[in-house]
């Protein structure tokens, strides 16, 4: 039976409302904190946002004109509140680098990262979890050693080096996959962007050649990025599983004669799922931030590269817009993880 919470004399709020209000308040505080810190860092950095627009050869007159246009003569907190005011009206401003509204840029760059990160995470989950379970079940045997070595390589090898070697082998020497970029030039601008996720848009348009080409371009960067996800997920799965496999209920299950696959997947694995959801969620969120190095090597126009280039050019509207998207991803994935906990573990409900 639901209980109610007393707020003041005679005023009682239902607990669900209290919870929703709490979540909304924490979201608002998170975003205010996120934008305030990013904005302040951007403004106190030694890089000059005016020179990013006018170039180093601009006369002082041109420089001053843009300086005042940007409102840089005003205190930082005034500039910040002006930005917040714009933000509340849904205006993320215009990017210096692309001359486009930041919102439009994000709609173009983020799906590219979403496509890459999703495939990489799926790879990590569908290969990393079985690897981790296999290693835990065969602790100390050669399978365990192989998985641990793969995990170590995936975790410690520089992604830049891994990417270049992969391009050299799989694109240049073996011709198994397509080169850097999202599509061959033959196919550029043929499919109208609906979601911005090329493989999805190509499938929706029934353009199977383009779909095929997009996959050929996607598979290598996603695998490289997926190596990191795979290594992390496999290592953590192994560790969680070892912990569970040493519990007494597992011994009991085995004594009762339950088949071994059921003991592993039905009992032990079920109990590590909640922890794994957290790990997968965090991995996915960090990949959605964009991997600058992977995006650079593979000429992948994603959000990570967009934010980094914007930061180097002191394009603060773009940096803030990108930061907000990353913040939304983290918050969204956290909320999704919370929901999933309840689905997989009745004790959390």
């Amino acid at each position: 039976m639901a209980s109610a919470e007393a707020v003041g004399p005679g005023l009682v709020l239902p607990p669900k409302l209290v919870k929703v209000t709490g979540v909304i308040a924490s979201l608002i505080l998170t975003f205010i904190g996120l934008t305030a810190i990013t904005f302040t860092i951007g403004r106190v950095m030694p890089a000059d946002p005016v020179l990013a627009i006018v170039g180093d050869r601009a006369s002082q007159e041109v420089y001053d004109q843009v300086f005042f246009q940007l409102g840089l003569d005003q205190p930082i907190y005034v500039q910040y509140f002006k930005y917040l005011g714009q933000l509340l009206q849904g205006d993320l401003g215009t990017s210096i680098m692309t001359a486009q509204p930041v919102a439009e840029d994000i709609l173009r760059f983020f799906p590219a990262t979403l496509e890459l990160a999703t495939v990489a995470t799926l790879l990590g989950v569908f290969v990393g979890i079985p690897m981790g379970v296999l290693a835990a079940v065969n602790q100390g045997r050669w399978i365990d050693h192989v998985v641990r070595i793969i995990g170590l390589i995936g975790y410690s090898a520089p992604i830049f080096w891994l990417g270049m070697i992969a391009i050299l082998i799989f694109y240049f020497k073996l011709d198994w996959v397509a080169g850097p970029g999202r599509l061959d030039v033959f196919y550029d601008s043929i499919v109208d962007p609906v979601s911005g996720i090329l493989i999805l848009d190509a499938a929706l348009a029934g353009e199977w050649d383009i779909f095929h080409n997009a996959i050929a371009h996607l598979i290598l960067p996603a695998s490289i990025l997926g190596t990191f996800a795979l290594a992390y997920i496999a290592r953590m799965t192994r560790s969680f599983m070892l912990d569970q496999l040493s519990q007494e209920y597992i011994l009991t299950a085995r004594v009762k004669g339950i088949p071994e696959w059921r003991v592993i997947w039905g009992h032990a694995f079920r109990n590590v799922l909640v922890q794994l959801i957290t790990i997968i969620g965090l991995t996915y969120a960090s990949l959605l931030e964009g991997s600058v190095l992977t995006e650079t090597i593979f000429s992948w126009p994603g959000i990570g590269l967009y934010i980094t280039n914007s930061l180097f050019n002191n394009d603060m509207n773009a940096v803030l817009g990108g930061t907000i998207v990353v913040g939304v991803c983290f918050v969204g994935i956290n909320m999704l993880s919370d929901l999933l906990y309840k689905l997989v573990d009745p004790r959390v409900r």
Binding site: L51, G55, A99, Y171, P180, H217
Partner: protein, 531 residues
């Protein structure tokens, strides 16, 4: 076991799906270049001042005056068919070619030519100084630049300038002729179509802008009705590939036709590939060191002169700069009209030490070199650091991104800057004004466009000669004055000019007709063919 078999089959099927999925070559009617195009921030010719966009708009817009790919040494009429200079040299009347059309189909009129220049002055973006130096301002430009009838445009300058210089300046990007009717149909709040033209085109050149996706791709479409005939390629595609090693692999594989940002190592690496040719194109970019004359020691001429003798130019040019930079020691690039091509300095430690002693610094001193983070600046800085140490100068190196470095330079907060400079337009005054002329050395004057001011250096003789050459009507005399000015700046002043860029471009051998001239915007695609 059965499950493992199914998994293996699935994996094999996935590999088959992607295997050999890329195309073997670029389309026959398309020229595909790989380049780092992250510097593109606008396509508006009134604002463009970046390297990539400089060359792109040169292919989209015809300018009033032009250098054509068939003869990069001769300045000829672009949109202007002919011109007449008044006796006092202050008024030039241009006759506009008849029958020209913009990509939109609108005719190119004298009114468009006048309006394009007026727009540059009224918008007053960074490159506007190229024409506002003639005395034009938002208040007077309508009366000083005007269409006198349907086919004639008259411009009048109020400052003393050689007409030759004015004509040269009108070959710069800001002299691009813009389709007034089309641009004004997109005007918002009196912005003269500025927001729209940032990412669109309205020219009459060999190509029009089809798409620009920042950090991804730029596509140009051929203009079949171009005055020199239809370009050789239907489309030009710039693919943003920031990583030079990726550019190399794409080129060797045939997925691109040209790589524009290969490092010397990569150029060496592809030298054995019979399908690829590497061409060298001398560019106008020079690499220099500048000493802040406001520094108590660096302000002494003997010290700067000692530094000129300490640098080992040849060793750098023959090692890590091989093929991409050549030794050059004057402020105006070799190969251009009025350039001084003598190389007076080689490393001479004894002479440098004697100069240091006569300046009262035989025991040396310590300084900081500020430079850019991108190659080859850190490498040059390290080499210079070792060279200066031989003369007792202990140099510390600080590398910074341009956006952090330039504010320091513009505020005179440096000891030594190691940087680059390329001309804004093809006239020696472009660099003479930066390297030799300082109209007001006071800090509060903020003449930041002059490198002399940034280095707190001013010299009456240098200022006078720079202005005299700027105003001279006689071309031969003018050339002599610039040669004299460059020789003067080789002996005094805050600059140690070291190298000139030689752009190395790697192309598939079936690509012919790519022309890249000395200035950053003298790059032409219209003669490119694929065999």
């Amino acid at each position: 076991m059965k499950r493992i078999k199914i998994m293996l089959l699935g994996f094999a099927a996935a590999l088959m799906l992607v295997t050999g999925a890329s195309q073997a070559a670029t389309p026959k009617n398309t020229f595909v270049l790989a380049k780092d195009i992250a510097d593109i921030i606008t396509m508006d010719p009134a604002e463009v001042f970046e390297l990539t966009t400089g060359e792109i708009i040169a292919n989209i817009y015809d300018r009033i005056m032009m250098f054509e790919p068939e003869d990069l040494q001769s300045l000829v009429g672009g949109v202007a068919e002919s011109w007449e200079v008044s006796k006092d040299g202050k008024t030039i009347t241009f006759k506009v070619r008849s029958g020209l059309k913009f990509h939109s189909g609108n005719p190119v009129r004298a009114e468009d030519v006048a309006w394009s220049l007026q727009r540059v002055v009224k918008l007053n973006k960074t490159p506007a100084f190229i024409v506002t130096q003639f005395g034009w301002s938002a208040d007077n430009v309508d009366s000083l630049v005007k269409a006198t009838d349907d086919s004639h445009v008259q411009i009048t300058i109020t400052e003393e300038f050689s007409p030759g210089l004015v004509l040269n300046a009108l070959s710069a990007g800001i002299a691009s002729v813009v389709d007034k009717e089309l641009v004004m149909s997109h005007e918002k709040d009196g912005d003269l179509g500025y927001e729209w033209l940032k990412s669109n085109s309205a020219g009459s050149g060999a190509f029009s802008l089809k798409t620009w996706k920042a950090n991804e791709i730029v596509t140009l479409q051929a203009n079949a009705g171009y005055r020199h005939g239809k370009p050789g390629m239907e489309r030009i595609i710039f693919r943003h590939v920031a990583e030079p090693s990726s550019q190399r692999l794409l080129l060797e594989k045939g997925d691109i036709d040209m790589a524009r940002n290969l490092t010397p190592d990569q150029v060496k690496g592809i030298s054995g590939n019979s399908d690829i040719a590497v061409d060298g194109h001398p560019k106008g970019t020079i690499v220099y060191m500048a000493a802040n004359a406001g520094h108590p020691i660096l302000g002494k001429q003997e010290v700067v002169q000692a530094m000129r003798h300490l640098v080992d130019y040849d060793s750098m040019a023959n090692s890590f700069l091989a093929g991409q930079f050549v030794v050059h020691q004057a402020f105006w690039p070799a190969g251009l009209w009025g350039a001084l091509e003598t190389i007076p300095y080689k490393q001479d430690i004894a002479k440098a030490k004697s100069l240091m002693a006569s300046a009262g610094h035989a025991d040396g001193f310590e300084l900081t070199i500020h430079t850019l983070t991108n190659s080859p600046f850190p490498e040059i800085a390290q080499s210079v650091q070792a060279n200066l140490a031989k003369g007792g100068i202990k140099a510390n190196i600080v590398t910074l991104e341009g956006k952090t470095l330039w504010p320091k330079y513009r505020a005179r907060e440096h000891d030594i800057i190691l940087a680059r400079w390329s001309p804004d337009y093809v006239d020696p005054h472009s660099n003479a004004d930066a390297f030799a002329n300082n109209p007001d050395n006071r800090f509060e004057a903020k003449k930041t466009g002059h490198l002399t001011w940034r280095n707190a250096w001013s010299d009456d003789a240098s200022n006078k000669l720079a202005i005299m050459a700027r105003n001279e009507l006689d071309l031969d005399k003018r050339k002599q004055q610039y040669l004299e000015l460059q020789a003067m700046l080789q002996k005094k002043g805050p600059f140690v000019i070291m190298f000139q860029q030689n752009e190395q471009v790697a192309r598939r051998k079936n690509i012919k007709g790519f022309v890249s001239g000395s200035n950053f915007d003298l790059v032409f695609y219209r003669n490119v063919t694929k065999q």
